[in-house]
């Protein structure tokens, strides 16, 4: 079929609440860009959105191979949505490898748009297909649209002075054009983006414009699609919105925290997936007084951050699991010298190098306990990409008020996933009060504020406060080196009490759903969306279920035990083998159940739903 074939009546329009699309192709096919463009367009239109980029490993695998497949799933809706969708309604597969690795997720009856040009024998071999799925009948249960995207696109670009390779690189925009037509989306935002991006290279800009428009026109003029779909704007609360990823929100939150505290932000960092974007982002904010330091290693990154905090700035460092392991000793030093510091852990699948581009929530116990001796640090964990902003500010509020290092746990799913974010008015955000001690007459380095137990933060440059700190145990109050047994016991207790006391200063845990009931699904971090959706579904089905989500993991909110006690059973879904589960069972002595999947991917709503139904249906309760 070609663009010249049939001219038909305008297609019918069908209203949908929610659509989930997955773009999949080779890493070189620009799938992330394509997904991002669709997301932006849907967001600007006013849909609620949620995205899940699925990157292959960092080193590019051979073109057309199975490990080289890159995917981007996005869900957009006229209602409130919390996840990028369990299964796509539409799968766009740019080559056989993309089809093979993604088809399993497409439900029967789902729409499958394939670039038939890419199904050459060579590509079929690379994807280890014994026969061509387009012709062997194996795709019967799907709604297949075979489109020779490469050929059609090349034809649209025929008279441009470009190599065939350059032409081929634009075929993703042809596919995007088709999707824009299918879902009644305007091409304007992407056309504007092309102008901005390729303005200096008019031929490339023209090629991308034409590819996009040709795809759109193809949808409009051929009869292969009988229907277009309309997803109305969502009813979000009033305000100015933008689309934001977790890493972007994290970086903006830190810049904001620095403003609210009136201090310079000093960011020490060593490149690591998936935290590097925070460094890239912050290094662009130098006109906000942000100092970024790309260190020689992870240890230097945290060392420099501690040094900066010692000097009165806001020392910040970020990494992922393997890097956090390297920072461990220095984090222990920060606990000992009690200086404000924020350590970001954008978790990824491990252990060791693991699967760097894939998500996991398995560093909770590492940051909680992974230091020598008892070494308490407060831990916060945002639940959604947009929340990353709020908890970046919250981490600093705690660090500065309690003069303590704080760990901020994000993960690859939050970091790269996007959702609409209602931009706050800076004037409405509360200032963060920060004090440096200056009174030489009353100064003792380890004297404590009676309420917060924070020690005075006395910075070099303050006359009369010259003193020495370090990793050796301190004498209570004076801060002199001490090996006194009773003093050590007292100091260990004080450090623990200081962190535990933060519980009085954080919001209570909230249960969404019945105040008492049969089941509480308790989560933390990026499982929020899937749990929330599953629990909403269960509630609609009439089950007595509530959802509670912890954002403070150390200390827990004061009412945590009380909330847990109100439900007959507790289910804790985590993308690890049961870490929060262990903490909750140990602390509250309840027989909570874990739901644990570590596949480098976020939970599906259905997995949580199923597990909850199983528990709810079984007669044997814990009989609390």
């Amino acid at each position: 079929m070609t663009t010249e074939t049939a001219r038909t009546e305008p297609a019918q329009v069908q209203e949908l609440d929610r659509v989930t699309i997955r773009f999949a192709g080779d890493s070189g096919d620009g799938m992330q860009l394509t997904g991002n463009q669709f997301t932006r367009t849907a967001a600007v239109f006013g849909n609620d959105i949620s995205t899940l980029p699925d990157f292959p490993a960092e080193i590019r695998a051979p073109a057309g191979s199975l490990p080289g497949v890159s995917g981007f799933q996005l869900s957009f809706s006229s209602g409130d949505i919390h996840t990028p969708g369990d299964q796509p309604d539409v799968l766009v597969a740019m080559n056989p490898a993309a089809l093979k690795t993604n088809l399993g997720d497409l439900p029967p009856g789902g729409a499958l748009i394939v670039n038939s040009d890419a199904f050459s024998q060579q590509n079929l071999n690379k994807a280890a297909y014994a026969s061509n799925p387009l012709t062997d009948g194996s795709l019967k249960q799907y709604n297949v649209f075979e489109i020779p995207i490469s050929t059609l696109n090349a034809r649209a670009l025929e008279d441009l002075e470009m190599t065939s390779k350059q032409v081929d690189l634009t075929k993703n925009f042809f596919a995007l054009g088709i999707m824009f037509w299918l879902y009644e989306r305007s091409m304007e935002p992407t056309l504007r983006w092309i102008d901005g991006k390729f303005g200096a290279r008019p031929v490339i800009a023209e090629a991308n414009r034409r590819a996009l428009k040709a795809g759109y026109a193809f949808g409009e003029t051929t009869e292969i699609f009988h229907t277009t779909y309309r997803v109305a704007a969502a009813h979000l609360s009033p305000g100015t919105y933008r689309n934001i990823t977790g890493n972007e929100a994290t970086a903006l939150g830190f810049v904001t925290a620095a403003r609210l505290a009136g201090r310079d932000l000093f960011y020490g960092s060593y490149p690591i997936t998936p935290a590097s974007d925070i460094l890239h982002q912050l290094s662009g904010y130098k006109n906000f007084g942000v100092k970024t330091f790309q260190a020689e290693d992870e240890i230097s990154a945290i060392g420099a951050a501690i040094g900066a905090s010692y000097g009165g700035a806001m020392g910040l460092t970020a990494s992922s699991g393997p890097g956090i392991a390297l920072k461990t000793e220095a984090l222990g030093l920060a606990v000992m010298v009690e200086l404000p510091l924020v350590v970001v852990d954008v978790q990824r699948a491990g252990p060791s190098t693991g699967m760097p581009t894939k998500t996991e929530q398995a560093d909770l116990l590492q940051v909680m306990f992974g230091r020598n001796s008892d070494s308490p640090v407060p831990i916060v964990a945002p639940a959604t990409p947009a929340e990353c902003f709020d908890y970046a500010v919250e981490a600093w509020r705690i660090a500065l008020k309690y003069v303590t290092p704080v760990v901020y746990l994000s993960d690859a799913f939050l970091a790269t996933g996007a959702e609409p974010w209602r931009v706050p008015d800076v004037a409405d955000l509360p200032a963060i009060a920060v004090e440096n001690y200056t009174d030489a007459a009353t100064f003792h380095p380890y004297d404590r504020d009676p309420e917060t137990l924070a020690r005075p933060w006395a910075v070099p440059g303050t006359p009369g406060l010259e003193h020495r700190i370090g990793g050796l145990e301190k004498q209570d109050i004076t801060g002199n080196v001490s090996y006194d047994p009773d003093n050590h016991h007292r100091m260990q207790a004080l450090r623990a009490q200081k962190v535990a006391g933060i519980a009085n200063d954080i919001p209570p845990l909230q249960a969404l759903g019945p105040e008492r009931g049969d089941l509480l699904v308790l989560g933390w971090g990026s499982t929020y969306g899937a749990i929330r959706s599953a629990v909403e579904r269960l509630q609609a089905e009439g089950w007595s279920v509530a959802h509670a989500h912890l954002r403070h993991l150390n200390p827990f909110p004061l009412n945590t035990g009380e909330i847990l006690a109100r439900y007959r059973q507790v289910l804790i879904p985590e993308v690890n083998l049961g870490q929060l589960l262990m903490l909750i069972r140990a602390r509250y002595l309840i027989d909570a159940k874990g739901l644990n999947r570590v596949r480098g991917k976020p939970f599906r709503i259905s997995e949580i739903h199923e597990s909850a139904v199983e528990i709810l249906s079984s007669k044997r309760g814990t009989g609390r």
């Binding site: 230097s300 060392g303 000097g311």
Partner: protein
């Protein structure tokens, strides 16, 4: 103050004072002609002595290093509260406790990283790093390299006793090959490295050596390191009389030092010996020791140039060791390069002049936005 010192002083950028975002309170100080802050009351050695009891082994070379450090501090014109000593782990690591300045006894090998962050956040401070051969060249080797190549404006003093003292006598990266220690009963099989060669390879802008017992020379060298604008690497040969006694005695003892050590002086021919009758001459690519007289004249000798752009001469000196050569002490290299904090602040100033002072609200709403009523 010598002319040379005055010149070095003039090159030092005026400390930024307390007017930085870190909000350090203003110190009581006036500003000297060269921009160096002067304490309102001149300080003396005793102002830098802390109330802590000094606890090194009796007879340890560290006592002298501490004393010379305290004696030199008043020379720099910084008020006490603007000076920070940061150390790692090892016997040397205790020094900050004995200085009545700000001090931070950190973790093994990492002092340069904290110093880098502190100087980055607070360019107004004078930051010293106190370290040892194990701390700086083993566990912390990476940080030494990178703080030097970045030209972080810190003064790193490495106590070299060629042994691990605090952990009671294991071989260190500067221990001579074959050395028998508790950890190497059959002798170490690891080739030692020259700290000064390492510093030069790392592009340090100031590289010097002195000796714990040569108090006057040590003070002078401290003074010059402190006045250097940029990263300074100072190796101090230090006797650990408990675990490696007499490691340098063969050439540092009073009776032999003139014959076995080479006092480097900028612009002067390399002459040594009690009778100042021997010198260093270049033979092809190699240095050789020559006896003056019999047709060998001073003009044929190498002339020390600590400011040479290329580091070849300094590197050659860093490899010279007793008994083949007299051991060079003094400043091997001293060159000027923009410091890390200057470059960092330059980029911030650039960003501000290009994009204006950051407007947070604007930043938050940047990118594509839409309004929901």
């Amino acid at each position: 103050m010598t002319d040379e010192q005055a010149a070095e002083n003039g090159l030092k950028s005026p400390p930024a004072g307390a007017g930085n975002g870190a909000g350090g309170p203003a110190a009581t100080e006036s500003t000297g002609a060269a921009g160096t802050p002067l304490p309102t009351v001149p300080l003396s050695r005793k102002d830098f002595v802390s109330d802590q009891e000094v606890r090194w082994c009796p007879g340890c070379g560290d006592y002298s290093i501490l004393a010379q450090t305290q004696k030199t501090m008043p020379d720099f014109g910084y008020p006490r509260e603007k000076i920070v000593f940061i150390s790692g782990i090892g016997c040397s690591g205790r020094l900050p406790y004995y200085m009545n300045t700000y001090g931070f006894h950190t973790i093994h090998g990492r002092a340069p990283t904290l110093a880098t962050g502190l100087k980055g956040a607070r360019p107004d401070l004078m930051v010293w790093v106190i370290t040892g051969d194990g701390d700086a060249l083993s566990i912390g080797g990476n940080h030494v390299l990178h703080s030097m190549r970045r030209n972080v404006d810190i003064k790193l003093v490495m106590f070299n006793n060629r042994i691990y003292g605090l952990t009671k006598g294991q071989a260190s990266p500067t221990s001579e090959i074959g050395k028998k220690t508790k950890s190497t009963p059959q002798g170490t099989i690891d080739t030692p490295i020259s700290p000064l060669s390492v510093a030069l390879a790392a592009e340090a802008t100031f590289v010097a050596r002195s000796v714990d017992t040569h108090t006057e020379h040590l003070q002078q060298t401290f003074n010059r390191a402190g006045r250097h604008h940029g990263s300074a690497f100072l190796e101090v040969l230090q006797n650990c009389n408990i675990f490696n006694d007499g490691a340098f005695r063969d050439f540092t003892d009073r009776e032999v030092r003139e014959d076995r050590m080479l006092m480097l002086e900028h612009g002067k021919p390399m002459i040594f010996g009690k009778d100042r009758d021997r010198g260093i001459r270049l033979n092809g690519l190699h240095p050789e020791v020559v006896q003056l007289g019999n047709g060998v004249t001073e003009e044929q000798l190498l002339v020390h140039d600590e400011e040479a752009e290329d580091p070849y001469l300094a590197f050659m000196l860093s490899r010279m060791w007793y008994p083949e050569f007299p051991v060079p002490v003094g400043v091997l290299r001293r060159v000027q390069r923009a410091t890390h904090h200057e470059l960092l602040e330059g980029q911030i100033a650039d960003a501000v002049s290009k994009n204006g002072e950051g407007d947070l609200q604007k930043l938050l709403v940047s990118g594509e936005t839409w309004v929901v009523d």
